[in-house]
Symmetry: C2
DNA sequence: TGCGCACGAATTGCATGCACTTTGATGCGC
DNA sequence: GCGCATCAAAGTGCATGCAATTCGTGCGCA
């Protein structure tokens, strides 16, 4: 009942967290596509800090699953597998059911206004550029999570929402989030009404349908991991020796 | 269905992850109590690495919520509030329901043996020292999570299980996990039988009762944050001036 | 033309150094 | 004896430097 102070999630120093926020945003707005390289030097230079700090930021983002870090290799924006995406949505549904259960009937007037304002912003952005509307849709869920005042819930929901958002840029059809806004409005209405069961099932089906629209096929449209895509062909060609890829393709 | 490779969760270089593992274990075995100081120098010296690496490890653990990092201050083992603990268990219950739902009826013979072996180990440790049996109980849940082969689930369940374990060392009565072993056995049995609903409710009530045993009162038994514990007394004494603590107590 | 190899550039892994902040202890005034 | 200012010791924040590894490109060879 008593409101607790919202504690900052790790993110020690400001410089590091600034970089993290910037990169997170760039990633979910698809300015940085999955697989994009993130060299420490460039990041440091871009943000006016040393490699040490950039490195630390990359470490944090890797812990969140947005960045992939392999020893002695340039960090890249994560490229989750289709199965990862499914798992992420499964977990996400449970977490967000928890969120709305806690929130049902307990929203303050200010919070309701905040939510409405956010959905209005989503509405306005609908005609605008894709990346922004995707980000806003994601941030709606994060906003809800913040209202629980539960640091753990906030952290996990934010993290997983970002990751789901990232997978959208991999697997989703060109555009598929138009109707989400109405579903957001419906959730707000149910939250105000205070029916726990109703709002939980609304959130559940909302996320289900987002996942459904997004994860239409287990095959990525965008030509990310070429080697994996070509794997079946290589197997089919077996009987000869292993198919060797020309360097131009292997590289990137 | 197809088994996926278990991906390492961030934890870039080996040196860092070794330190993380060591500290995690020390923390959940209560060799390091909540509030214990973790100076970068000492860690580095102890593990034969530079401050840079120790620092990075602390960053990771802070991201997991096991360590608290405040600017310009020595890192300390996290001291979750009672409310944090409640929230953690709420989330944990949902996540672990998901785990056992995915696992119900799908365990391989090897996995069953592995689980039985683990519970046997718990049994053997029962008479032994407390910290080890607590760790084993926690690791049972982590072992289950691993069997889902879902990196996200593995990461979140591990993380939150460690955190819950940490709170146990703060709030739990001297010893309270005796009967957990039988509950673990029951869960294994239900998993083998394959009844999703049954195993989910078993896990739910198991964690509920662990939480219930642990979080008996919103007041910590152990004398952590002295100032907070004394706050009510100070208030009661109001009318005079603010009660000032002698230095010996204030310090640590 | 296509493939392999080797070398230079780019990049990471890690330690160390310096500046700044916090800590806590000592000594002084009351 | 108690409180407070002052100062050294300890610790963190961050950048930089060097070694090791990877990446990419051009050359030689089939």
């Amino acid at each position: 009942m008593a409101p607790r102070a919202a504690s900052k999630t790790a993110e020690s120093s400001d410089k590091v967290s600034v970089i993290c926020r910037a990169l997170r945003r760039a990633i979910i707005e698809q300015a940085l596509e999955p697989g994009a390289k993130l060299p420490e030097d460039s990041l440091g230079e871009r943000f006016g800090v040393s490699r040490t700090i950039a490195r630390h930021a990359l470490g944090q983002l890797a812990a969140e699953g947005l960045v992939e870090l392999r020893r002695n290799r340039i960090a890249v924006v994560a490229t989750p597998s289709w199965q990862d995406a499914r798992d992420a949505f499964d977990v996400r549904i449970q977490l967000e059911r928890l969120v709305v259960r806690q929130l049902a009937g307990k929203l303050t007037k200010v919070q309701i206004e905040e939510l409405n304002a956010h959905v209005d912003a989503e509405d306005r952005a609908r005609g605008g550029s894709d990346p922004v509307s995707i980000r806003l849709a994601t941030e709606f869920h994060i906003l809800l999570a913040h209202m629980t005042n539960s640091p753990i819930l906030i952290r996990y929901v934010s993290e997983i929402a970002y990751r789901c958002c990232l997978t959208l840029s991999l697997f989703s059809r060109p555009h598929s989030s138009e109707c989400a806004i109405n579903e957001h409005r419906a959730i707000i209405a149910a939250l105000i009404k205070g029916d726990e069961e109703k709002v939980m099932s609304l959130m559940h089906s909302h996320l289900d349908s987002v996942a459904g629209r997004a994860l239409v096929s287990p095959v990525p449209q965008r030509g990310r991991d070429l080697l994996d895509i070509l794997a079946p062909y290589a197997e089919a060609a077996e009987g000869g020796r292993v198919v060797k890829l020309p360097k131009a393709v292997r590289g990137r």
